[in-house]
């Protein structure tokens, strides 16, 4: 097939389900459970789990774990609420752990 140049996508590392665009990365300097993580403004094809309060490095947040819609692997979490004013910018955004996502083959 002809090589089609398209948007740069990230996939679930286990099942290659497309979960996010490279263009939607807000920041690359976040910490996940087991290493580096990226903050994304949008994610797709993920299931959002139940909300829970967690005390993260930056304070208390209400987060919901997100998992791949196809294989149910937990890929990160979504910030539902932030309790400190300086952290409000994260609300509605997604954290995807670097170890759990891979670049789609085209780039």
């Amino acid at each position: 097939m002809a090589e089609i140049v398209g948007p740069r996508l990230y996939c679930c590392y286990r099942c290659r389900n497309h979960v996010s665009f490279h263009d939607d990365i807000i920041s690359k300097t976040f910490q996940g459970r087991n290493g580096r993580a990226f903050l994304f403004s949008h994610a797709m094809n993920v299931t959002i789990g139940p909300k829970e309060d967690r005390n993260l490095l930056t304070g208390l947040h209400t987060v919901a774990d997100i998992s791949c819609a196809d294989c149910n692997e937990v890929l990160g979490w979504k910030y539902e609420r932030a309790y400190e004013a300086s952290q409000k910018y994260k609300e509605g955004k997604f954290i995807l752990e670097k170890a759990k996502i891979v670049k789609d083959d085209n780039w």
Partner: protein, 373 residues
């Protein structure tokens, strides 16, 4: 006809052919039109051109090329009618193939030659330019072996060129681009992504002077582009709809202001890493939308497409921008979205801009609030 192609034997095909036994009207003879006497189609080589081309439109391009080598009749039929060809899947020998195909396929309008490994050389492009006068859409991306001779040949041979993709052809010089635009004035779409050497302000001035019909221009990674070039473009190409200035780091607010005022049909603007851009540029975009709406109401001639305005804006890494300015842009262009599923405002790397919301995401938010209360 059998369902599995593999099982179809030559005898089957021939008997199908005989069953069809087409009777076609006679071809024009010199001096008189003879529509009465039928010409029996005896063999596959006599199949009418239109039917052959219709069949070939259903198969891949390598089969079309093979078909053109079957016999003289098919070669001439295909050559007289083939308008679209893609050799993108070729790993090697693209150059030699083109040298032999160009004289045969003189009616080509669309030719796609994007390569994984750069193989294309000037002589092949010269052959195309010599024989394919009607070429409108040419994709030469990643052919970095090509030199200015190719562009000169295209300028002379293909004056009707409307879409040209030379992204990745970093060997071209700006003079060659200027030369091309002097002849190919019908250009509607031009992709110069990665042509760092060729995309200078001088070249853009030439494009602004000559190609007034230009709708789409990609100047990605061309960091020699400056305000002078973009302002000439905004002045000379009022029909510009899609402009990508990704990594054109030298441009400032003046470029964006010129585009906001000069190109009312702009729907997509890419300013990735243009770190000189400030709120001033954003406010000028917002104001241009207001001005445009006013003139549309006055003229009472508003068409759907004219009303849309910006649909896509990429301001990734433009860290000087502040939320109120970007929110003003979002408010002025209803087709610009931040809601999931169709977001078109790209703010990668701009932590402060995460609060900017399009009108529909605010609506959804407030309706949820009402539901909850």
């Amino acid at each position: 006809m059998g369902q599995d192609g593999n099982e179809l034997r030559t005898e089957d095909l021939n008997s199908c052919f005989k069953k069809l036994m087409m009777v076609v009207s006679g071809e024009e003879e010199v001096g008189k039109v003879n529509r009465e006497s039928p010409v029996r189609v005896k063999d596959w080589k006599d199949i009418p051109t239109e039917l052959l081309l219709r069949i070939l439109s259903l198969v891949d391009d390598s089969s079309v090329i093979m078909a053109s080598g079957v016999c003289k009749g098919w070669r001439d039929s295909i050559g007289s009618g083939l308008t679209h060809l893609s050799l993108v899947q070729l790993k090697k020998n693209m150059n030699n193939l083109l040298l032999s195909l160009a004289p045969k396929f003189t009616k080509l309008q669309m030719l796609s030659l994007r390569q994984d490994v750069a193989q294309l050389e000037d002589n092949a492009v010269e052959a195309i330019a010599t024989h394919c006068y009607e070429l409108r859409d040419l994709d030469l991306s990643k052919s970095f072996k090509l030199t200015d001779c190719s562009l000169h040949a295209l300028a002379h041979g293909c004056p009707n060129l409307a879409k040209l993709n030379i992204s990745g052809c970093w060997a071209f010089s700006p003079d060659a681009v200027v030369y091309l635009t002097n002849f190919c004035t019908q250009l509607r779409a031009l992709n110069l992504c990665g042509c760092v050497r060729a995309a200078t302000d001088c070249a853009l001035q030439a494009i602004g002077r000559n190609c007034s019909r230009l709708q789409m221009l990609n100047l990605g990674w061309c960091d020699n582009v400056g305000d002078l070039g973009v302002m000439s473009l905004a002045f000379g190409c009022p029909d510009l709809r899609v402009l990508d200035l990704c990594y054109c780091v030298r441009i400032t607010d003046d470029s964006v202001i010129a585009l906001a005022n000069g190109c009312p049909r702009l729907t997509s603007l890419g300013l990735y890493y243009c770190q000189n851009i400030t709120d001033r540029a954003m406010y000028s975009l917002a104001q241009s939308a207001v001005k445009r709406k006013r003139t549309l109401w006055d003229s009472r001639r508003s068409r759907r497409e004219d009303e849309e305005g910006l649909k896509s804006l990429n301001i990734s890494q433009c860290t000087a921008l502040t939320p109120p300015a970007v929110q003003a842009v979002c408010d002025s262009f209803p087709a610009l979205h931040t809601c999931p599923g169709r977001h078109s405002l790209i703010i990668s790397g701009c932590l402060s801009l995460t609060s900017v919301r399009c009108a529909c995401s605010l609506q959804a938010h407030s309706s949820l609030w009402y539901l909850a209360h």
